[in-house]
Subunit: 196 residues, 2 copies
DNA sequence: ATTATCTATAGATCTATAGATAATGC
DNA sequence: ATTATCTATAGATCTATAGATAATGC
């Protein structure tokens, strides 16, 4: 029993941390990172602000956990993207406004001076562009039908995904995010010789 | 003289306000809107925080002035966009990281709940998409070479501009924003029959 | 008179530290 | 013993109000 109890204790603690991170994701979606208070996060999991600091000793430590959660989020597909999965991902995202809002808010904040998530996003985009280029190369070879290289196309692909998210978050009624993204993929796949 | 003096007074007051707005743009670029303190803005124009409140009675009032400044910023070209001017605009933006950072940070924050700039951005994007669609129609008619309508292309065009800005702000060395944007315009202009 | 600024200050927050108390697990 | 939480609190901010004082312009 003792071994199992010890393990249960660890598991329970991990669950508590996960619960806190989930609450933090929500609060950041609502108020951004700078606007998110530890008190608001704590309240959501039924703790005092000081009780929360037992699990994450500083606000920044909590942010780190939030960003690791994000890495988890697309860890599985990120191993090796495929174009058809990408469209599905955008469709899936359209059903998860909360998480998209969290990371869109964080991305926006991250361009400000000394923001604690800045290095994370800078590194992340280097990786994501590389992944996307690799995916495009697997799909099309060294040149897309339109003549661009995968490396030059990758930033555009990433930009469209992010940019559409902002438009969609601000006005979901007016913006068909998955539809627009599929349009873009069609654009990429189109070939000068397709017509004849 | 009296009439002229009165006018000078008004002009001087207007100049002071403009100076404050410029300082606010800077501080927002550095810290976001929520993170920007009136004290920091005031200091930059050599006023106390309370002195600043003489010109803008609340923090939100100052934000309104900042957003109006933005409308000014692209008022001239916005009247009627042209595709070639659009590429130039992106090139121009690449020389103005400050202003781009200000509005990228604001856009990011604006998706959070109850943000005072949210309605502004929602409305703005409705307009910008309409302007872009109009421009695309003027350039290509009711269908682009790739078959998409101007209305379906407009959100993509806007998304690419915004998305590239984030990637570029985070990592200007790695991202050639104007070049990538020109690539995208090429993509739009390409015709299935071009090859033959 | 009006405009521009300042000092003083109320009232809200917010993060983080210190240290007590209760519960859990060897 | 260690882990989980709590109360108390220091120390920083921040916005906005009240009201004084100096300068400007009729």
């Amino acid at each position: 029993m003792s071994y199992g109890d010890a393990m249960n204790a660890r598991v329970r603690s991990e669950e508590r941390r996960a619960e806190i991170v989930r609450a933090a994701l929500e609060v950041i979606a609502e108020r951004g990172y700078r606007g998110a208070s530890l008190g608001a996060v704590a309240e959501r999991v039924g703790l005092t602000q000081q009780g929360l600091l037992h699990y994450f000793p500083t606000k920044d430590a909590l942010l780190v956990a939030v960003l690791q959660e994000r890495d988890q989020w697309d860890a599985v597909p990120n191993t090796r993207w495929r174009m058809d999965l990408l469209a599905s991902l955008v469709e899936y995202n359209a059903m998860r406004p909360g998480i998209i809002q969290t990371f869109s808010a964080l991305l926006g904040e991250s361009v400000t001076e000394g923001h604690p998530a800045r290095a994370y996003f800078t590194d992340r985009y280097v990786q994501v562009r590389a992944n996307m280029a690799e995916m495009l190369r697997a799909e099309y070879g060294d040149h897309l039908p339109n003549g661009l290289t995968p490396e030059r196309t990758a930033p555009l692909l990433v930009a469209v995904m992010d940019g559409l998210q902002y438009q969609w978050l601000l006005d979901p009624e007016s913006v068909d995010m998955p539809g627009a993204f599929r349009d873009f993929l069609t654009l990429l796949g189109e070939n000068r010789e397709d017509a004849g």
